[in-house]
Amino acid sequence: MKRAFIMTVGILCSLLMFSPALAASGPVVIALQGPITGPWAYEGDMAKKACETAADLINKKGGVMGGRLVEVRVFDDAGEPKQGALAATKVVGQKDIAAAVSTYGSSICEPASNIYEKFKKVNIGYGVTAVRLTKRGFKYFFRTCGRDDSQGKFFADSVPAKFKARRIAIMHDNTAFGKGLAEDTKQALAAMLAKGDVTVVYYDAITPGEKDFRVPLTKLRESKPDVWYYTGYYAEAALLLTQARDIGIVCPFVGGNAAINDEFVKIAGIDVAKGCFMTNEPLPADLPYPEAKEFLKAYKDKYGDIPSSPWPIYAADAVNIIAYAIDKTKSTDSTVLAEYLRKNVNGVPGITGPIGFTDQGDREGVPFYLYVVNDKGQIVISR
């Protein structure tokens, strides 16, 4: 009995002695908030894998702050605004988390970033492109992806010319992202509309989560567009396209950057999906940077294939830039990190090219390409 007591005390003492040392050399924790379940689970899963791969690479090179490892802790927001706020509340409640990568979907990011801002936690969006997110004067919100207005502008500059289209149909899904991109596209087309070069013959929304879109599609068909731009997500895009072909809409389909991925091709089937276009950030395989090649090799070695959509690598770059800032500032304090990211990060090499942030937290310089689904169902740059 006495011996047991002495041993217990001894163990407790040694624990006490070691614990400060443990805290200083323990891992640096970066949270990933993403849609691990729910309708975008596929994106969430890839983001998780990408962030973990990025952390692995950093750790293999010796970690940050002279040897501390980077750990990614995953929080599920199920792709729902309400869950997004809950997940953010969980993240800010865990004191060892230095910063968060959050999240996919502008309407989920919006409530979550409110909470991060309130609790002064750096949060970097990786799949959130609605313009207004960075117009709120937030100090702790950044994004590694581009904005919808740059995508809308890209559409206006390239698509009507490519298809010699005069009648344009724009369809969105009433989500923050879909509606934002549709509005920005319309704005980018304004000059051409004023000159009468093009007309927007259809501009309306569908309800996400529905399965039957034959009614709005019939209206779209009756408007006789030369090209059809859909700015929503892939789950509806695949159904829309299949049903559109069924009811006799034959004009080219151009999706926004969330409309087309492997799942889209799988659900629509190659016969229907081939020849569909999308305006998009460069896909992982098309990135020319050495960091991209290194990252994709590591990802492929671990998971068998590279990510099929552009978003996961923005998540990985968010992890990279957080780790970079932690390493340079020797601090895990979010206020220090936010200041550093805003002022001192400029042209840091990343997987998606040089990373830098504007004063309001936007990524500087993100290019867009027009992609097309080829006969084999692969998504390739349209020449």
Partner: protein
């Protein structure tokens, strides 16, 4: 005008899904006065079982039976599997609590619904699943400017045949008479020598089977299925049941078809975003002016 016809065809197609699901609701309610909330999930389960057959074993079966044979097998197996599930659910979740009254049974039905839904998520995963794309040749008919696909025609044919068969079984056979008698008055029917247990077996076999076949058809029609879709279809089918008069089988069939067409026309000529509002408004109006539904039977209160 062609647009109207096209929307009517589209409406009849989704209406026939509602009708097939509604039949299961109506049969169970007619006999047991129980609203079987798990019924929408039987439908989802059918859709997933059909998906598994079509995707996983297609290599084996298509060689022996051909593509059409494969579809028939998928529907048959899905119907059988879900019918057995239906019997199991009745045995486990409903039968032990019939004596406690109707409300506990409804709560138990909700529990069964959540259980089945989550079981589907665990087995098949939370992602969307996609039915194979080249199942039915993508043939389109354009009749006077109205677009109809081969698949729509097949779905309409299949559901009408199923409904006709059920109608004949219920209205023209001795066994159907037993079911109708039990629905009318269980105790008197028992006194007349009708085996009530057999009647329950029959409705819990047939109802889920019809729902499962609707599930496979929905899978083929939209090609995208998710584990949560049963709730929405269940709710619409339940509405169809009430619209037609609960417990009345032809009522459930017509209720489903009417609901589908109303939904499509409402979406086309009022607003797509408001189509559910429109549907439920009609339901409220029917309940106010014809509380027993459009084809409702007069339900005599027991004294």
């Amino acid at each position: 005008m062609q647009v109207v016809f096209e929307q009517v065809i589209n409406g009849l197609t989704i209406g026939s899904f509602y009708a097939l699901i509604a039949l299961g609701y109506s049969m169970v309610y007619g006999v047991l006065k129980l609203i079987n909330f798990a019924h929408g999930d039987f439908f989802t389960l059918g859709s997933y079982v059909g998906y598994t057959i079509l995707v996983w074993v297609s290599g084996l079966t298509v060689v022996h039976f051909g593509l059409w044979g494969l579809i028939v097998i998928a529907m048959f197996v899905a119907a059988l599997a879900v019918a057995l599930t239906g019997l199991a659910v009745e045995r486990v979740a409903y039968r032990p609590i019939y004596p406690t009254g109707r409300l506990p049974a409804v709560v138990s039905a909700l529990g069964a619904s959540i259980f089945i839904q989550n079981a589907i998520m665990v087995v098949w995963g939370p992602r969307f699943q996609a039915y194979p794309s080249k199942l039915i040749p993508n043939i389109k008919f354009v009749l006077g400017g109205v677009n109809i696909t081969l698949l729509q025609i097949l779905i309409l044919l299949m559901s009408f045949i199923l409904m006709a068969v059920l109608y004949v079984v219920i209205q023209k056979t001795t066994f159907g008479a037993a079911v109708r008698a039990s629905a009318l008055d269980r105790e008197t029917a028992s006194l007349m020598g009708i085996n009530f247990k057999k009647v329950i077996f029959f409705i819990f076999f047939l109802g889920p089977a019809l729902g499962a076949m609707a599930g496979v058809m929905v899978g083929m029609y939209y090609r995208q299925i998710s584990f949560t879709m049963g709730w929405n279809y269940g709710l619409k089918a339940f509405t169809a049941t009430i619209l037609g008069g609960i417990g009345n089988l032809p009522g459930a069939m017509f209720g489903g078809l009417i609901l589908g067409v109303l939904e499509m026309l409402g979406a086309a000529y009022i607003s797509a975003a408001w189509k559910d509002v429109f549907v439920f408004l009609i339901l409220i109006l029917v309940l106010i002016f014809r509380p027993n539904g459009l084809f409702g039977e007069r339900v005599a209160e027991k004294v």
